[in-house]
Symmetry: C2
Subunit: 221 residues, 2 copies
């Protein structure tokens, strides 16, 4: 009885991961077409597994497939990202509410450590904001995880955040507002630690609403 279900991933699985990462890193730019013949020649696989991988990516909303016209990397319009932020506002508020209800001391310590790490990053290299973005996601992910709602985790951390990431590498990358965000994060974790679901909910909603407002302001420059 082998506990490990498999040793090598299938070609379809490999292609899925490779293409997904290529899309999320920007190597495949939004709107560009993914030619089957070309792509499966590059990765050295057949068209069958590739088409399955593309269908999975379609399920993640990362590519759009039209019959007899092939697959294109999704292009997220500004109006769509605003809508997604409205959804995030609601769902991450819920995540905070649940997190404040369910978090134990270990959870709180983990959240707190992310904050201190992020604060450290900021004082050290205040020019480079790449690790801050990462830390920002770390905190949001961790809160959703602490919420205990696995469906919510799946939805937010696997589906919606990928779309947000896809948007970020499009026309106008917002510069973000690290100092204010860090302050808001601290208050949110405080509320979770104090087991105040309503406040945690409110603060997270406001936090994401602020980010959305800034998005709106940036795209009407």
């Amino acid at each position: 009885m082998t506990v490990l279900p498999r040793t090598t991933p299938t070609n379809s699985e490999s292609a899925f991961q490779i293409i997904r990462d290529a899309i999320l890193s920007g190597a495949l730019s939004p709107g560009s077409k993914i030619s089957e013949a070309h792509t499966c020649q590059i990765y050295g696989i057949g068209r069958g597994p590739l088409r399955e991988a593309l269908r999975r990516l379609e399920g993640c909303k990362l590519v759009e497939i039209k019959p007899n016209a092939g697959a294109k990397v999704s292009f997220i319009k500004p109006s769509q990202i605003i809508e997604i932020y409205e959804i995030r506002e609601s769902l991450e508020g819920l995540a905070c509410k649940l997190a404040a209800t369910n978090a134990n001391k270990t959870d709180c310590l983990a959240l707190r450590s992310i904050i201190t790490e992020q604060r450290l990053q900021m004082t050290q290299n205040n020019g480079d904001l790449a690790p801050l973005k990462e830390g920002d996601l770390d905190l949001h992910f961790s809160i959703v995880k602490v919420s205990g709602n696995t469906q919510l985790f799946q939805l937010l951390c696997h589906d919606l955040y990928q779309l947000v990431q896809l948007y970020r590498l499009q026309p106008n990358t917002s510069p973000s507002r690290p100092h204010i965000a860090l302050e808001e994060h601290t208050q949110i974790v405080d509320a979770i630690e104090r087991k105040d679901p309503e406040l945690a909910d409110l603060l997270m909603r406001r936090h994401i609403s602020n980010a959305r407002q800034e998005l709106l302001a940036n795209l009407s420059l």
Copy 2:
């Protein structure tokens, strides 16, 4: 220049729709395996298109595919449906808030007509509750549509409701509480009509929370 992009759907598309409907209608029961050879023989198509259809269904969370083990119809556990109801509570609250903000008179009339239709159905055949379920979904769908957030519509009406439907045809089908629900619906539409976003949000959250509580009570019988 033909405006209609295509006349006949692809085999993959047909298989996707047929299998999806079979799952949602209960013809394919949750947990049952979907054999490739068997299935593609029934529908008279090749394995390639069938596998693509299965990948799409996997993206809808209606089937689970494991490497070298094939596809099974998803089985929604009670804990999962509770989590989904928590998400619905949050998202449909948002939908109501947006609907109350954006609804014009035509929208309000449409919502109102669904309510009156539902009330009519109830007084006529108070034994058969099948059309009530349909009307219930009609109202929820319409509110989400009126909200104007297309991403939210996609998420709620295409993804989450399918999972709810899949759960309904599993072990313990809840009898539901039509009269109370109708009353709650009426109040929600009232709030939307009065352009009171906060109240509409609150009422819808409470409405779904009540449904969730009843789910919880039913599965701990």
